[in-house]
Symmetry: C2
Subunit: 87 residues, 2 copies
Protein backbone atom coordinates (compact mmCIF):
# COMPACT_ATOMS: atom_id res chain seq x y z
CA UNK A 1 0.00 0.00 0.00
CA UNK A 2 1.28 3.43 -0.95
CA UNK A 3 1.25 5.81 2.02
CA UNK A 4 1.70 9.55 2.49
CA UNK A 5 2.22 10.55 6.10
CA UNK A 6 2.16 14.11 7.41
CA UNK A 7 2.59 15.02 11.04
CA UNK A 8 2.21 18.14 13.13
CA UNK A 9 4.04 17.41 16.35
CA UNK A 10 5.26 19.64 19.16
CA UNK A 11 8.94 20.46 18.86
CA UNK A 12 10.10 18.36 21.82
CA UNK A 13 8.67 15.17 20.27
CA UNK A 14 9.69 15.83 16.67
CA UNK A 15 13.08 14.10 16.88
CA UNK A 16 11.62 10.79 18.00
CA UNK A 17 8.81 10.96 15.48
CA UNK A 18 11.16 11.77 12.62
CA UNK A 19 13.39 8.86 13.52
CA UNK A 20 10.43 6.49 13.71
CA UNK A 21 8.90 7.55 10.42
CA UNK A 22 12.22 7.27 8.60
CA UNK A 23 12.41 3.65 9.66
CA UNK A 24 9.30 2.96 7.60
CA UNK A 25 9.02 5.63 4.91
CA UNK A 26 11.02 8.04 2.77
CA UNK A 27 11.31 11.56 4.08
CA UNK A 28 10.29 13.98 1.33
CA UNK A 29 9.73 17.27 3.12
CA UNK A 30 9.89 18.83 6.58
CA UNK A 31 7.12 16.67 8.11
CA UNK A 32 6.08 14.64 5.06
CA UNK A 33 6.92 11.03 4.25
CA UNK A 34 5.90 8.59 1.56
CA UNK A 35 6.45 4.99 0.68
CA UNK A 36 5.09 1.52 0.24
CA UNK A 37 4.08 -0.36 3.37
CA UNK A 38 2.22 -3.56 4.07
CA UNK A 39 -0.83 -3.32 6.31
CA UNK A 40 1.15 -4.99 9.08
CA UNK A 41 4.02 -2.51 8.87
CA UNK A 42 1.62 0.42 8.67
CA UNK A 43 -0.21 -0.71 11.80
CA UNK A 44 3.12 -1.15 13.55
CA UNK A 45 4.10 2.41 12.60
CA UNK A 46 0.75 3.82 13.78
CA UNK A 47 1.05 1.94 17.05
CA UNK A 48 4.58 3.20 17.69
CA UNK A 49 3.63 6.75 16.70
CA UNK A 50 0.80 6.59 19.21
CA UNK A 51 3.38 5.93 21.89
CA UNK A 52 5.29 9.09 21.00
CA UNK A 53 2.44 11.50 20.30
CA UNK A 54 0.43 13.54 22.72
CA UNK A 55 -2.95 12.93 21.15
CA UNK A 56 -4.46 16.11 22.56
CA UNK A 57 -1.82 18.25 20.92
CA UNK A 58 -0.19 16.35 18.07
CA UNK A 59 -1.67 15.08 14.89
CA UNK A 60 -0.69 12.70 12.11
CA UNK A 61 -2.56 12.33 8.84
CA UNK A 62 -2.24 9.31 6.61
CA UNK A 63 -3.33 9.04 3.00
CA UNK A 64 -3.40 5.53 1.66
CA UNK A 65 -3.70 4.43 -1.91
CA UNK A 66 -3.75 0.85 -3.04
CA UNK A 67 -1.55 1.73 -5.97
CA UNK A 68 1.14 4.37 -6.31
CA UNK A 69 0.23 4.94 -9.96
CA UNK A 70 -3.10 6.43 -8.85
CA UNK A 71 -1.17 9.35 -7.44
CA UNK A 72 0.89 11.83 -9.37
CA UNK A 73 3.44 13.85 -7.45
CA UNK A 74 4.81 17.27 -8.31
CA UNK A 75 7.30 19.49 -6.51
CA UNK A 76 7.55 23.27 -6.81
CA UNK A 77 10.72 24.90 -5.50
CA UNK A 78 13.46 23.21 -3.55
CA UNK A 79 13.62 19.42 -3.59
CA UNK A 80 15.03 17.56 -0.66
CA UNK A 81 18.40 16.10 -1.40
CA UNK A 82 18.13 12.43 -2.36
CA UNK A 83 20.67 11.68 0.33
CA UNK A 84 18.11 12.72 2.90
CA UNK A 85 16.20 9.60 2.03
CA UNK A 86 18.99 7.27 2.95
CA UNK A 87 18.78 6.06 6.49
Amino acid sequence: MYVILVYDIEQKRVGKMLKLCRQYLNWIQNSVFEGDLTDVKLNELIHKAGGIMNKEKDSMILFKSRQEKWLEKGVVGREKNELDNLI
Copy 2:
Protein backbone atom coordinates in the same frame (compact mmCIF):
# COMPACT_ATOMS: atom_id res chain seq x y z
CA MET B 1 -8.98 16.34 -9.60
CA TYR B 2 -8.35 15.55 -5.96
CA VAL B 3 -5.28 17.37 -4.64
CA ILE B 4 -3.17 17.14 -1.50
CA LEU B 5 -0.83 20.09 -1.06
CA VAL B 6 1.97 20.31 1.50
CA TYR B 7 4.33 23.23 1.79
CA ASP B 8 7.51 23.98 3.67
CA ILE B 9 7.88 27.75 3.56
CA GLU B 10 10.03 30.16 5.52
CA GLN B 11 8.14 31.82 8.36
CA LYS B 12 8.00 35.27 6.80
CA ARG B 13 6.15 33.97 3.73
CA VAL B 14 3.83 31.52 5.49
CA GLY B 15 0.98 33.97 6.05
CA LYS B 16 0.63 34.80 2.36
CA MET B 17 0.92 31.18 1.35
CA LEU B 18 -1.67 30.04 3.87
CA LYS B 19 -4.10 32.67 2.66
CA LEU B 20 -3.56 31.69 -0.96
CA CYS B 21 -3.97 27.97 -0.39
CA ARG B 22 -7.14 28.45 1.64
CA GLN B 23 -8.68 30.22 -1.33
CA TYR B 24 -8.41 26.99 -3.30
CA LEU B 25 -8.31 24.09 -0.84
CA ASN B 26 -9.37 22.97 2.63
CA TRP B 27 -6.80 23.38 5.35
CA ILE B 28 -6.42 20.08 7.20
CA GLN B 29 -3.20 20.45 9.18
CA ASN B 30 -0.42 22.93 9.86
CA SER B 31 0.87 23.09 6.26
CA VAL B 32 -1.40 20.53 4.61
CA PHE B 33 -4.39 21.16 2.38
CA GLU B 34 -6.72 19.00 0.35
CA GLY B 35 -9.58 19.41 -2.06
CA ASP B 36 -10.99 19.08 -5.51
CA LEU B 37 -9.64 21.41 -8.16
CA THR B 38 -9.93 21.65 -11.91
CA ASP B 39 -6.69 21.67 -13.91
CA VAL B 40 -7.20 25.35 -14.60
CA LYS B 41 -7.64 26.24 -10.93
CA LEU B 42 -4.67 24.08 -9.95
CA ASN B 43 -2.44 25.78 -12.48
CA GLU B 44 -3.64 29.15 -11.24
CA LEU B 45 -2.75 28.15 -7.67
CA ILE B 46 0.70 26.89 -8.68
CA HIS B 47 1.34 30.08 -10.62
CA LYS B 48 0.35 32.30 -7.69
CA ALA B 49 2.32 30.19 -5.22
CA GLY B 50 5.37 30.61 -7.45
CA GLY B 51 5.01 34.36 -6.99
CA ILE B 52 5.14 34.01 -3.20
CA MET B 53 7.78 31.30 -2.80
CA ASN B 54 11.53 31.63 -2.77
CA LYS B 55 12.28 28.62 -4.94
CA GLU B 56 15.76 28.18 -3.51
CA LYS B 57 14.45 27.87 0.01
CA ASP B 58 10.78 26.96 -0.04
CA SER B 59 9.09 23.88 -1.32
CA MET B 60 5.59 22.75 -2.14
CA ILE B 61 4.59 19.19 -2.92
CA LEU B 62 1.40 18.26 -4.72
CA PHE B 63 -0.17 14.83 -4.89
CA LYS B 64 -2.88 14.51 -7.47
CA SER B 65 -5.39 11.75 -7.85
CA ARG B 66 -8.05 11.64 -10.52
CA GLN B 67 -10.53 10.34 -8.01
CA GLU B 68 -10.83 11.00 -4.30
CA LYS B 69 -12.08 7.45 -3.70
CA TRP B 70 -8.64 6.13 -4.63
CA LEU B 71 -7.31 7.66 -1.47
CA GLU B 72 -8.25 6.75 2.05
CA LYS B 73 -7.50 9.25 4.78
CA GLY B 74 -6.89 8.59 8.44
CA VAL B 75 -6.06 10.92 11.30
CA VAL B 76 -4.25 9.97 14.50
CA GLY B 77 -4.45 12.43 17.39
CA ARG B 78 -5.89 15.88 17.29
CA GLU B 79 -8.16 16.79 14.40
CA LYS B 80 -8.33 20.34 13.22
CA ASN B 81 -11.57 21.98 14.19
CA GLU B 82 -14.02 21.86 11.29
CA LEU B 83 -14.39 25.61 11.65
CA ASP B 84 -10.81 25.96 10.49
CA ASN B 85 -11.97 24.86 7.09
CA LEU B 86 -14.41 27.69 6.70
CA ILE B 87 -12.93 30.67 4.95
